[in-house]
Amino acid sequence: MNAELRMTVPVARVLAALVADPTGDHYGMALMQASDLPSGTLYPILARLTEAGWLDKRWEEVDPSEAGRPARAYYRLTPAALPVARQRLAELHERTRPASAHTVTKEATA
């Protein structure tokens, strides 16, 4: 797994949606809703995460002719990526917290 993934805000949103239910299977439309990203932004991120080894992609096991619909693709964080994703999200959260709140927290813990 490539841990050196560039963490942009859209990537963080997608990871946050995946981390929220780490064992669940996520499909494109649900991730669009959870991350509030358009499809044109979401799928390149999913492809990048998959190629970097952060995501497992699998196809729904359904017979399209029986189900009357095509099989969907599901995404899930890999076990190795889950702790890294949590850590990177926490770091990002830390960096993007308002300065005053950051200072107050530091003072309170001092």
Binding site: Y43, I45, A47, E60, A71, R72
Partner: protein, 277 residues
């Protein structure tokens, strides 16, 4: 209607993705589109994908130097082929006799096959031309070289260009370019065999136009029938196949169309299976 628009958007989006991911992504998008409620959401979903860029570019190495070199090589090949055709005609087909007419006819017929082969081979070694020149303009580029040569040659040689020659050559160029561009468009829609048939028609039509002020296009007796016991058709056919410009036209149009086909193959068209309702 909406489904068709969405399908077009998805196909356009898939074309920009790396070739190895296209089919997979297209299947995934179609499945999501199928499950998506509401026309507006479907349209937004498909349009967003169509307007976006993939996570990495298609693995196409853009090498302007190579494309330029191929264009120059293409220029040299076309000019060389034109000179070669004239040279062979001067050496082999300026005089006919009872003893030589048979091998001359067979050699000319073989020359037609060789012209096709050379056109295909030249397209293989100059694929970069269509990176520099849009495929639709490839026939104009290739035929334009010969057109320019044929009009400038009399000036170089010091004799006056006749009006009839200009008309014939211009009609040849226009018919060859238009029909070959049409063949390219037909090939783009997947009908490759039909596109080659159009190239065949382009050869005949443009050759006819190139000889509008010549007895060949009037289907007059070229005087060759005397070698075939007065059989007009055989004599006429030999007179046609020994024309250097026919060989050159075949080479040019096969070359141009092969370049277009190779370009289209490189683009790896995305198949369009029907989207379930």
């Amino acid at each position: 209607m909406i489904r068709r628009v969405c399908n077009r958007f998805l196909t356009a989006a898939a074309r920009r993705w790396p070739a190895e991911l296209r089919d997979e992504m297209l299947a995934e998008w179609r499945a999501e589109l199928h499950a998506m409620p509401g026309t507006a959401r479907r349209l937004r979903y498909a349009a967003s994908l169509a307007a976006s860029r993939p996570h990495r570019a298609e693995a196409v190495a853009v090498r302007p130097g190579r494309s330029f070199a191929h264009a120059v090589l293409s220029l040299v090949l076309v000019m060389g082929m034109a000179v070669l055709c004239v040279r062979i005609t001067i050496d082999w087909y300026t005089g006919f006799s009872e003893e030589t007419i048979a091998w001359q006819a067979w050699a000319a017929a073989g020359g037609l096959v060789i012209a096709v082969g050379l056109g295909i081979i030249c397209a293989r070694v100059t694929t970069g031309v269509t990176q520099l020149i849009r495929p639709v303009f490839t026939p104009l580029w290739i035929c334009g070289i010969v057109y320019t040569m044929s009009l400038s040659w009399p000036l170089v040689e010091g004799y006056q260009l006749t009006r009839s020659a200009v008309i014939d050559q211009t009609c040849w160029l226009l018919s060859a370019v238009v029909l070959c561009a049409l063949a390219g468009r037909i090939a783009r829609s997947g009908r490759v065999a039909l596109s080659w048939a159009v190239v065949g028609v382009a050869v005949l039509v443009s050759f006819y136009f190139a000889h509008m002020h010549n007895t060949l296009s009037h289907f007059d007796s070229p005087g060759m029938e005397m070698f075939f016991d007065g059989a007009f058709l055989r004599g006429y056919l030999v007179a046609v196949v020994t024309q250097w410009f026919l060989h050159l036209t075949i080479f040019l149009l096969v070359y141009a169309h092969s370049l277009v086909l190779r370009h289209q193959a490189g683009q790896a068209q995305v198949s369009l299976p029907p989207v379930p309702a």
